[in-house]
Symmetry: C2
Subunit: 518 residues, 2 copies
Amino acid sequence: MANGADALCDTFLANGIDTCFANPGTSEMHFVAALDRKPQMRCFLGLFEGVVTGAADGYARMAGKPAATLLHTGPGLANGLANMHNARRAFTPMVNVVGDHAHYHLPNDAALTTDIESLARPMSRHVRRIAGPEDVSRATAESIAAASAAPGGVSTLILPADAAWSTVDPDASIAKAEWRAAAEADPQMVERAAAAARSGGKPMFLLAGDALSGNALKKAAAIAERFGGRIAAEQTNRRIERGVGRPPVERMPYVVEQAMAFLEGVTDLILVGSKTPVTFFAYPNLPTSPVPPGCRVTRLAERSDDLPGAIDLLGQALGLNDEIGWSGARTEPPPLRHGDLTAEAVLVSVTHLMPENAIVADEAVTSGRSFFKLSHGAAPHDHIQVAGGAIGGGLPLALGAAIACPDRKVLSLQADGSGMYTNQALWSMARENADVCVVVFANSRYAILQGELKNVGADEPGENANRMLRFDSPAVDWVAMAKSMGMDGARAETAETFHDLFKSAMGRRGPFLIEACV
Amino acid sequence: MANGADALCDTFLANGIDTCFANPGTSEMHFVAALDRKPQMRCFLGLFEGVVTGAADGYARMAGKPAATLLHTGPGLANGLANMHNARRAFTPMVNVVGDHAHYHLPNDAALTTDIESLARPMSRHVRRIAGPEDVSRATAESIAAASAAPGGVSTLILPADAAWSTVDPDASIAKAEWRAAAEADPQMVERAAAAARSGGKPMFLLAGDALSGNALKKAAAIAERFGGRIAAEQTNRRIERGVGRPPVERMPYVVEQAMAFLEGVTDLILVGSKTPVTFFAYPNLPTSPVPPGCRVTRLAERSDDLPGAIDLLGQALGLNDEIGWSGARTEPPPLRHGDLTAEAVLVSVTHLMPENAIVADEAVTSGRSFFKLSHGAAPHDHIQVAGGAIGGGLPLALGAAIACPDRKVLSLQADGSGMYTNQALWSMARENADVCVVVFANSRYAILQGELKNVGADEPGENANRMLRFDSPAVDWVAMAKSMGMDGARAETAETFHDLFKSAMGRRGPFLIEACV
């Protein structure tokens, strides 16, 4: 006898969603029992919900379709919110199933009762509570559609326990999700963007989403080359194709003064699915946008538009034929470093040694700031990054990417402060024998905050500030932590040791952690 | 020149709040700089926000006054919500300071922008956004008052960065927090409760809050004894005084059938600050309240009333003089277990060996279910537990209790599944040299869910269910994990080894972890 939980699984499967990252609780046991009846659905346990939602983000970015997540009531959702936030900023499709009490138990205000809708809304584009067993399939299809509609987003589907456990008509049909495709760019916007490109100044094409990969990226680079302009990506991005043979895209810098320098001289900023740049934070006496005065901002396409198509239309409007090609200037990898290990030495070795078609999951924060400059000449790879500024996304992203692409090597470039947030991801990597090499930049401090404290005018941090910005006493032993969760690892304190360790890690499959003492 | 952040610190200090659990970010750097100027404020770093809010919960339960927390924007708050939820269910006073963007930066929708109010409200009794620098002190005092008003609760105070960094009039006064005291119980309710006690049936006094300690507890036990009744506590509680010389309080069982058996024959349930019991979850074909049909429910006092005072008034209404005493029957500790280690063997050894005045922070979940029955004869101790059903509260509670009571031994009875959620608390224990002995019940499974899956009618879990309910492959090595964060530990696989290890742990100060393989 099929129940609502079966209808939920069947609707996922009928709509191509066969991967579920989960941390279930009592109210989801019927869903677990239903999943148990569907071996086609692949289930991955996270030992904390931040791992679950972050992995679903990484999975969807690489698989090009959403994963489901399974979360337990309001607190379980709450634990997953930070990485849902990152997913929402990356426009990643994701369907979260949040189990809740049976509807008639809610007025009893039992211990786990919470206002799930209020918690979910800030991080979701679509929140829907299932009304009863007969509503399960339709509500699920709606959630899948809302998550999948361009440019992608986070759906949260609240599953009351009684909707899961009640029987449904076995002949009821399973709903198909339908959603709008990405729209064609507005011809007037294309004309205006073409005029901006032709203005004779120094245009910059700020690319987002699908404009950062494949032919779209190459064509954008060719157009920029032709009109004396540059291409760039926003400060955080869903996915960028990089390395030899791909146009070297620079990212908008995080530091305000650097972002202003980055945009200096730009006369026309042309937005290709991106937003007008704003600073990550506001600071006293600094602007909140790095765009220089007098720079014209013109939008070619909205984020929900077909961005490769918009670039094609722009090319046509500019009278360029389809054969226009990017010149493909080759960047050489920088020379290897020697001696004491520095973040730059790590990044240079990674650039030299990463295998073709690797996926780089980047939450290296301060240690990774020079990665883009250094690695244009690396082997072709995909770069995915924590997109919403909520730390703790990196390890889960790497996990999810590895599950989406089991035949590709995943490199997790991970700051230690953020890595601690969701260290439980290491356990899932070990369990799934995920092909991830985690490189932890172990400096035992929130280096980004030490810089920020200096910005606010504090000279030398005193005891209270140091107690909040450093965690070197005791230092976390990342190799021991990895081993405690079943993942092998090793430590590097010199550039040479790191290089050798990383080289050997590239030659093996399966999870491995390198603690880079920088 | 003082700024808003200074006013915030000064208002905390002027109102007796001198402890801040923190995980700061950029938008809180002015607050960090201000804390750096106030060495009277003690700051404790958590490497994840769930540690921060859970520790503030444990601190306040033992210190009897709130701690402040410092959280970074919406995602930082989100990470702390699960343990704020536990605190709200325990009626723990807590003041969360959540840093946000400068008010004029919010419309730019920078990466970390979120609807903080929507996230905070479900777990807070009071949410307040600071309107500007001159509003800081008043808003802070209001938040302290809201947290402190009986019976205690969670306040969330949103601090825009520009309110923190802008200068304030140095002559402006620092606001004092004022709040209502616990109310005297309604005389009519007292009369009705007295009539229920006298009814000649079998009354049960269901105690909450301050009725579970000191003379109030003893007096309630004496009244129950006199009228042929029992005393009990709710399933989850803020703090209970237990052990030799204290009346043995039983807790409402978690399992529905056991709760129904627990209440069988009770004719009058007298609520002393407690709620009418409801089941933790709803199940098909089971009631959502274990209260037997025909049992009268009478309320002596509201949770926000003066509960010890209400018990005094009840005694007077019952014509009992002030000398009425509880008979104080001594319960002997159960005999030690031998051979393979079981959860019960652990609990028996703990009962025998725990030092006087210990604090037991209990998140042992299934492994700890028999703890109450076994430990009535233990040395006098305080028992605190995760109150809202959101797992991951235990280790942070233990940390906070140890910081509130540095002269008392803290025992953390910790299930492994929940312990993984906030394992970062071990690092804070090591850093603060907190006098905590963590006992991890390592069974590598969500045992509570295995039971629940059986309840829903699944016989033998298949692959998908096992992949979501067991985490034994690989098993977490808790000793290695503790050592990775600077905490010493050891493993026990027999009752004898555990007994010896625990005995030796009781003889030393400072953090120590025992992995009990059960």
